[in-house]
């Protein structure tokens, strides 16, 4: 199946959706506690998309975004990418750093560090949920951050998949705060081969 992820059964898709749901739910709760705001999230999308179309999921390849990237190590190696439009990232920094809304116009070292820590916390919460489903323990790397074009940031993840196939399995959840000030996309992109391991751990091979 690592050769052809284009053929997932509906049951397999449902399981992945549920993993995404609980994982992102955990993450959203963690974020909500940090910034003391209500966070809404949508039902996760599990999609298998041609690599070339992945950037369209976040508004097109030249859309300006902030991305926090973590490599996930363990039995089912994966990549995590948390993407936010630039404005959302600035707004989140205002909240985290106790500044007035609109104060952040660019990211300094401390701001970047704060956003990476958010990426860290969200990923930890997500991977905990994944563990509760699968008993597969996964460890995130230290986070890395970039502010640039969405296509350029996504290419980091896509290139790794591109070595094996032409499609990406993307478990994607969109978050937003109740005032709509922050919108984010959380992507879990299993390496080819990892998907099999996750599915077999939950018994839907």
């Amino acid at each position: 199946m690592s050769d052809d992820i284009a053929s997932l059964s509906p049951a397999q898709k449902d399981v992945l959706k549920e993993i995404g749901n609980v994982g992102a739910g955990n993450s959203a709760t963690a974020l909500s506690q940090i910034i003391n705001r209500r966070i809404d999230m949508d039902v996760p999308r599990v999609s298998i998309v041609p690599l070339s179309e992945v950037p369209e999921l976040v508004g097109g390849p030249d859309n300006m975004v902030v991305g926090v990237f973590l490599r996930v190590y363990g039995k089912a190696p994966s990549n995590i990418l948390f993407l936010m439009p630039k404005e959302s990232a600035f707004y989140l920094v205002d909240m985290l750093m106790g500044k007035r809304t609109g104060d952040t116009k660019n990211l300094d070292f401390m701001d970047e560090s704060a956003l990476m820590e958010i990426g860290n916390i969200l990923s930890g919460a997500y991977l905990n949920a994944l563990y509760s489903f699968t008993n597969i323990s996964l460890l995130p790397s230290i986070p890395a951050l970039a502010m640039d074009m969405a296509g350029a940031i996504l290419s980091v993840v896509l290139v790794q998949l591109g070595q094996m196939g032409d499609h990406a399995l993307v478990i994607e959840t969109e978050f937003k705060t109740d005032d709509d000030g922050i919108r984010g996309h959380f992507f879990l992109v299993p390496d080819s081969g990892s998907l099999e391991i996750i599915l077999s751990a939950v018994g839907v091979e």
Partner: protein, 161 residues
């Protein structure tokens, strides 16, 4: 307005003047353009990986520097371009995230640039413009009316190569 033709990731497009070929948001990928200044036939290829030797046969050939350049060149020659006149330009190949222990995979931008130049030199196509490396994204376009290759970035300025 000249026709604007978009080139997606792992894809190429060929055309004639006055078309403009454009590819958005390149990170570690490379945008390789080939251009015959006399017939004004050109192409833009957006590669993701250096070489196809580890790939399976069913895969998209345009993902790789070697097979992508070969296919695009063939198509341009069929349209009437002459190989001995063709000039290449390339941009991209950055490393978006800096990790202390950068793996080979993280350095794929660098390897892409090296592979692209090697493929072109093997085909005896001169590289007349290059803007590779760095840690930022690029949007690239080639204007087939004059062969000017533009590189746009978010905050590192724009340039023509």
């Amino acid at each position: 307005m000249p026709e604007l033709i978009k080139v997606g990731m792992a894809d190429y497009k060929v055309g004639r003047a006055p078309a403009i070929l454009i590819s958005y948001g390149l990170g570690s990928c490379i945008g390789i353009s080939l251009y015959d200044p006399q017939t004004k036939i050109g192409g833009l290829l957006h590669i993701m990986l250096p070489d196809s030797s580890k790939s399976r046969s069913s895969e998209n050939r345009n993902k790789f520097a070697d097979t992508g350049v070969a296919d695009m060149l063939d198509e341009m020659i069929k349209m009437g371009a002459v190989k001995s006149r063709i000039l290449a330009k390339l941009a991209g190949g950055s490393q978006m995230f800096a990790f202390a222990n950068a793996t080979e995979l993280m350095r794929v931008g660098f390897r892409n640039a090296a592979a692209a130049k090697e493929v072109l030199s093997r085909l005896s196509i001169p590289v007349v413009g290059e803007d590779t490396g760095g840690n930022y994204g690029r949007t690239v376009q080639i204007d087939l009316s004059d062969g000017v290759y533009k590189v746009k970035t978010i905050d590192k300025g724009d340039k023509e190569i």
